[in-house]
Symmetry: C2
Subunit: 177 residues, 2 copies
């Protein structure tokens, strides 16, 4: 698939997934795509744990309330470390966001669907921390997001976006018309 | 180009660019790729200004010290607005990072090179604010990054990264071996 096409057809999939397993070599390709993203001062603050073991998936989904992505046969958990890039500057949010975007595109390329799930698990009920405990993640890492991965069972829905002209201009800011 | 291939060959290019202009329709495709990225609660906090006018490029590069990307025939400036997604949650950093990653891949797909330049212009000397003034950007937007765009004149250099096994695991955290 052409990269521009993958970028265009990608959307956040919140429907049910088929039970068909995602082969480990394909999950590995997706993870490699994530790790290939740039990171501020090359600090490589992102780590990943992919879960495709059914019993561990079940444990994780027990703490994810309300449920989301619970029918997907695999889940990529995104871990971050607040490593200083220089002086007091830290680019860990940028780093994991770029890694997630790479993975979302790789997932599309390989014929699967996904959704960037972050706010749901980093909110005041600390679901991400409970997930990290289940996965034996050391304290220096924070589990900030996860991506369900699988074949979509339902049709894709596209969110409505503002027209190009209201968000992008050439050679200077233009007032909204 | 296959998306996985684009992801793999992308690297931060810091060399000189050829003077060959980037056609406006290709710049528009790159910007569209950026705006196609997901945003937290679909708040679409990212806006873009692409500069390919030589006199404006010259003005911008006058304030970018030390110089970087100054030989590129075009530059995409990334603007963000801190729009609340829900309660006190704001995902503007994630939003612009995903948009930038999409654009970096689109740039590769179209045969150009680029580099995510952020810390250089958001540091204590406020270069981004000076660039925003030149581009008549209203105060509610912050210019946080720019991407030079052009054909590379020099060979690509790849940064060394940690091996997969030190950053990614299946079904639980694994100690570094």
């Amino acid at each position: 698939m052409n990269t521009l096409e993958a970028i265009k057809i990608r959307a956040s999939y919140r429907g049910k997934y088929c039970s068909t397993k995602v082969p480990k070599d394909q999950l590995r390709l997706i993870m490699q795509a994530g790790l290939s993203a740039p990171s501020g001062c090359n600090k490589q603050t992102v780590s990943l744990i992919t879960v495709d073991d059914e019993s561990i998936l079940m444990k994780l989904h027990k703490v994810i309330k309300p449920p989301i992505g619970e029918t997907a046969p695999a889940m990529i958990c995104v871990l971050t470390r607040k490593i200083i890039a220089y002086r007091d500057k830290c680019y860990h949010v940028q780093d994991y966001s770029a890694a997630i975007q790479n993975m979302l595109l790789a997932i599309i390329e390989l014929g699967y669907q996904s959704c960037w799930i972050e706010g749901h698990i980093t909110d005041d009920d600390h679901i991400g921390e409970q997930m990290a405990q289940i996965l034996h993640v050391p304290d220096e890492y924070k589990l900030v997001a996860f991506l369900p991965v699988g074949i979509a069972e339902e049709p894709m829905k596209y969110t409505k976006k503002l027209p190009f002209e209201q968000r992008a201009w050439f050679n200077g800011f233009k007032e909204k018309s």
